[in-house]
């Protein structure tokens, strides 16, 4: 009874009809979803080099799966071989400005028969976003090669890594990934070990709602094209905080602007050398003859995750490049430590190949000036990497018959 005056007032309102409101609400959801699907599928990144800091999780912009596929669709013709680049900050091109980016050189080396799309993210695994996009596009672009980098025996987790794991959940929720029992088993174990039922319910409900309503696609598009609504460390103040993300160019710093004498500072030497030694020391032991060997448990664990990381039919078109450290640090290793270092890299390449992938290492014969720090490459290092990767990519394309039918002759 106490609600009677309010209800009467509500009914008397000349502005509001609940049924019409509900119809408007449902129409609004439908239109939002339809617009988001259309723009994301078609692609809206007219200018794209990579997901730089203003359009990546660093600045609270989380590219969606359809958005990333749209980036590929805007660039790859049906008569081209698609080369998707994934991996971490090294392949992303940290320290290489857009005009000196190593994937641009790779595109130049490969020519018009191929199209190279750099989808690598800072701190990502070789199984993160770019690998998901490559798998999702497997039928749309059957002639494709996926290239990513990794450290020696860095576990290629089938569940990827944070903050990029949402792309794996998104793809799984929409049924876009292949059904692959070894991977499904690892992911199932991961979910039950790391998520409470409440978190799983949150994840499920958000993914289910997004699958229907596409709110991430819609608001990413609005944020990229019209106005951005999330404060972040790179644009903390108004008005630039709300500027559309497309107004921010790829402004990666250039390692080559830093004098060589200040790139490798003495105060970081000890810490860097501990990391360099750690690449091989944690994975190796000395056998009875005094030779370095990779620990059997490391080989076994790696073999299990590598086999589960990517479906079997996609492994042969996957190239994993193992990243070497800067020779400035490697020269400080003793001859014995260098034997151990080489052992772990050669065993890791062998393990990747045994699991069905293509693999090689890079950086062993590079100069100090090819590196901007212990691990990231300068533009000159990027050019050397591009030359080697181009040769590997051509070899894979030839072996898989990508250039025989329906494509220009090599």
């Amino acid at each position: 009874m106490s609600n009677a005056p309010e209800t009467a007032c509500f009914e008397r309102s000349a502005l509001f009809r609940p049924r019409t409101f509900l119809i408007g609400f449902l129409c609004g959801l439908f239109v939002c979803s339809a617009v988001a699907r259309f723009v994301a599928h078609r692609g809206y990144h007219d200018v794209f080099t990579r997901f730089h800091i203003f359009i990546s999780p660093d600045s609270q912009y989380y590219p969606t799966l359809d958005e990333m596929c749209g980036v590929v669709r805007m660039r790859c013709r049906s008569d081209q071989v698609l080369v998707i680049v994934g991996g971490n900050s090294i392949f992303h091109g940290v320290g290489q400005p857009a005009d000196k980016l190593w994937t641009k050189e790779l595109q130049r080396q490969l020519g018009d028969q191929y199209v190279v799309v750099n989808l690598a993210f800072r701190g990502a695994f070789c199984t993160d976003g770019a690998a998901v996009v490559a798998e999702v596009l497997r039928k749309e672009y059957p002639r494709q090669i996926y290239v990513a980098n990794a450290g020696p025996f860095a576990s290629p987790e089938p569940v990827g890594s944070q903050p990029y794991r949402y792309l794996i959940w998104e793809a799984r929720s929409r049924g876009l990934l292949e059904s692959f029992a070894p991977r499904d088993e690892v992911i199932g174990d991961f979910r039950s070990d790391n998520y409470s039922w409440g978190q799983l319910f949150d994840l499920w409900s958000l993914e289910t709602l997004d699958r229907a309503l596409r709110f991430r696609d819609l608001w990413n598009w609005v944020g990229y094209r019209y106005f951005f609504t999330i404060q972040n460390p790179y644009t903390p103040h108004l008005p630039e905080a709300v500027w559309p993300r497309e107004d921010f160019p790829d402004r990666e710093d250039d390692f080559e602007d830093i004098p060589f004498s200040t790139r490798f500072l003495p105060q970081y030497q000890d810490a860097e050398m501990r990391i360099v030694r750690g690449f091989s020391s944690v994975n190796c032991f000395r056998d009875h003859q005094g030779n370095w060997r990779t620990r059997p448990i490391v080989l076994k664990d790696f073999d299990r995750t590598a086999k589960a990381a990517i479906p079997d039919d996609l492994k042969a078109r996957t190239l994993i490049m193992l990243s070497r450290n800067c020779p400035l640090y490697l020269r400080q290793l003793s001859a014995d430590e260098m034997l151990r270092e080489n052992r772990v890299y050669s065993d890791c390449i062998r393990s990747w190949r045994a699991a069905g992938y293509e693999s090689a290492d890079y950086g062993a014969d590079y100069d100090d000036s090819d590196f901007g720090d212990r691990t990231h490459l300068t533009a000159t290092g990027g050019r050397k990497l591009a030359l080697q990767v181009a040769s590997e990519v051509r070899g894979i394309a030839g072996r898989l018959g990508y250039l025989k039918d329906g494509a220009p002759a090599p």
Binding site: A14, L15, G24, C32, Q162, L213, F215, R216
Partner: protein, 54 residues
Amino acid sequence: MNILNSLIKGLPPAYQRMATHASSFLMGLAAAVLFSYVLYRLGLPSKPFIYVAF
């Protein structure tokens, strides 16, 4: 709101009905857009990802 209410009530009955439905429909559309935005914000982590080179 009250001004709008009285404006609509001042219209002939046929126009009044049309205007009422139109305003309800538009409010529904606006609520849908707001709902979509709230879901988008709920799906984002509260803290940005801070990349540290390793």
